[in-house]
């Protein structure tokens, strides 16, 4: 399969060069090279244990790569980790909120972790944009799963970061809430936010992502647009009937050299 171009592009919001990460002796990421442009929604795909969460935790400066170089908005991750953290908003896979606090207090508390001072009015406005203004004074424990997911995203946007790192942010919620969140993410990208989005949901990938990257066993197997992916599998002799089939093909653990039972 193709790997992405490693040449340095000045305008890239996120630039990853030959990054590796190990847990013990087991490699979690191996020689990953990638660049993501400003305003882009980049989908990270891969089976469980492929290294998606590791990639996101490196980009969010939670863990550092064993080797390689990561540059975020012109800042070196290893040398300027604290400044990098102010550039990014991280939405974890699980709900990272204080259940016993109200929506308002959660947003206020998360705002305390950023360098920038955020007013209560700004927080309420943020709450309004995720359509939770009616729940401002309600405890998080009383919110539905979908509402918690929205608040989980809002908490990452408090300090108005340029980059949003989202690790399966819509997992386990109803269709209506998922559509609302997806629409909101598209709006964020239109407004210039760069989004790295990890998911297993094919419809979300197709709806949201300008480009995708496919990770398998810590190796970036492919990165590019859906059209480029189609070209690539075509060259291998496969003709998927739909984009869903195309992504299914990309995500197979086996090599594309083998015929797949799905087809």
């Amino acid at each position: 399969m193709d790997t992405c171009d490693s040449e340095v592009v000045d305008k890239a919001m996120i630039q990853i060069e030959n990054v590796s990460k190990f847990y013990g002796k087991k490699p979690s990421l191996q020689g990953v090279t990638l660049k993501i442009e400003k305003g882009e929604v980049f989908g990270v795909l891969g089976p469980n244990g492929a290294g998606k969460s590791t990639l996101l935790s490196i980009l969010s400066a939670i863990s550092m790569p064993a080797s390689g170089r990561v540059e975020i908005n012109g800042l070196d991750l290893k040398k300027q980790a604290k400044l990098v953290r102010e550039q990014i908003g991280y939405v974890p896979q699980d709900i990272a909120l204080w259940e016993h606090l109200t929506v308002k207090d959660n947003l206020i508390f998360w705002s305390k972790f950023s360098k920038r001072r955020v007013s209560k009015e700004e927080l309420f406005e943020l709450c309004r944009t995720v359509r939770l203004q009616g729940k401002w004074n309600e405890k998080v424990s009383s919110l539905s799963g979908g509402m918690k997911r929205k608040l989980n995203i809002a908490a990452a946007l408090i300090h108005n970061p340029d980059i949003l790192l989202m690790d399966e942010p819509t997992v386990g919620i109803d269709i209506q809430s998922k559509l609302e969140i997806n629409q909101y993410i598209r709006d964020l990208a239109r407004n210039g936010k760069t989004i790295v989005y990890s998911t297993h949901d094919m419809s979300e990938i197709l709806y949201l992502c300008n480009r995708i990257g496919v990770l398998k066993s810590g190796v970036l197997q492919f990165s590019g647009t859906i059209a480029e992916a189609r070209e690539m599998v075509k060259r291998k002799g496969f003709l998927p009937n739909s984009d869903e089939e195309l992504i299914y093909l990309l995500l197979q653990d086996d090599s594309l050299e083998k015929p797949l039972p799905y087809f």
Binding site: S57, I62, E86, P92, Q93, D105, F109, W110, F113
Partner: protein, 383 residues
């Protein structure tokens, strides 16, 4: 340093009654309640006896007064009829009757059968009380004998004197020889007590201070549960923020420590006001050190456990074991020299055995700082 996280945490604690209950009611409220019950129980351990004074003389009144002053005897001075009823109802262990002519008999040097004792089949401590009364009666007779002897000697030497004054002076002098403790008292070996300092300090004597060490440690463990609750996804996300996890851990701990500090101050004030302890700033400082050690210890322990239920069970068992070995319930170090040596490693030793700041104090402070750093390191590395 931006302290807004600490301010927010303080506000959060103030707005949540359960947090305040854990911080104030457990260490202070439970100490006062359980301490009161323990004290009440100690009073119930006194031997109840009834005494009937048929003589109504100076000697009989003095004897009653001295027996009622005994620490482990609770004395009812009643009529014969009432004493009998009390004995039948087992309200008293035994009844002692100071018979008419008690003083007269003692003055003539006779003390046998001057006091009658009534017992029931359920009397258990009558023998002990009999010895106490016999001792007090012997004191009276020996005083009389000594006074008689002095007057007799004066007379045999033809020394001019007022017999009555000389007798009284000799009597008082002989009686004073029984203070501060009875004559011919054996000096028992109090090796463990003296080595541990428990008998000298005065801090460890109160059940309240002992219980405070237990409930404060329990309170610290229960209020450190936020680490177990938040160490998963919340800590992970906090690590991706500008101020980060270390700042959060420091500020949260400081906020919590301030509340516990206030609880300790309040406890000290109440203990001093109720004469449980003496007003000694050194003791207050030792209480602060103990608190700091407990908080660091609980945070360090919480960094190892991932399930909240397991944390509560382990904490409770841990605090009870440490409480027993450290002497929070009773002076366990007096049981054996091994326990005495072992007790120095428990933080309770700061308050219950030591009577002043010593080499242990900076060691415990350093140990607490190390535990705190290890906890942060562990919580950080786990990411």
């Amino acid at each position: 340093m931006n302290l807004s996280i600490a301010y927010f945490k303080i506000r959060e604690i103030l707005l949540h009654p359960l947090s305040l209950v854990l911080i104030f009611f457990i260490p202070l409220g439970l100490t006062l309640i359980v301490g009161h019950l323990v004290e009440k129980g100690q009073k119930q351990l006194e031997i109840p006896i009834a005494i009937i004074d048929e003589d109504h003389s100076d000697f009989s009144r003095l004897l009653v007064e001295r027996i009622s002053g005994q620490a482990k005897i609770h004395l009812y001075q009643v009529s014969g009829e009432k004493a009998e009823r009390m004995l039948l109802r087992n309200d008293v262990d035994s009844v002692f009757v100071i018979k008419k002519g008690f003083q007269k008999r003692l003055l003539t040097g006779e003390r046998e059968q001057s006091i009658e004792v009534w017992i029931s089949p359920f009397s258990m401590a009558e023998g002990i009380v009999r010895e106490v009364i016999a001792s007090e009666t012997a004191r009276l007779t020996s005083d009389v004998k000594a006074a008689d002897w002095v007057v007799k000697v004066y007379k045999s030497l033809d020394i001019q004197m007022d017999s009555s004054k000389t007798w009284n002076a000799a009597y008082d002098y002989t009686d004073s020889q029984w203070e501060p403790e009875p004559l011919m008292t054996i000096q028992y070996d109090q090796l463990y007590l003296e080595e541990s300092g428990a008998g000298k300090s005065g801090f460890g004597d109160s059940p309240y201070l002992r219980l405070w060490t237990f409930f404060t440690m329990l309170g610290c463990f229960l209020t450190s549960d936020w680490i177990v609750r938040e160490k998963g996804v919340l800590f992970f996300r906090i690590q991706s923020t500008y101020h980060g996890l270390v700042s959060y851990l420091i500020q949260n701990t400081v906020a919590l420590f301030l509340f516990h500090l206030f609880q300790t101050l309040l406890t000290f004030y109440i203990f001093v006001k109720t004469n449980i302890i003496q007003m000694r700033p050194e003791l207050l400082l030792l209480m602060f050190v103990y608190l700091f050690v407990c908080l660091s210890f609980s945070i360090w322990s919480a960094s190892f456990i991932n399930q909240i239920g397991s944390y509560y069970i382990v904490s409770f068992l841990f605090v009870i074991i440490i409480g027993i070995l450290g002497g929070s319930f009773f002076p366990v170090q007096e049981f054996s020299s091994t326990l005495l040596k072992l007790s120095v490693i428990f933080p309770q030793n700061l308050l219950l055995s030591s009577n002043q700041m010593n080499i242990q104090t900076p060691l415990f402070i350093s140990g607490a700082i190390v535990l705190w750093i290890l906890a942060i390191r562990r919580l950080w590395i786990k990411r």
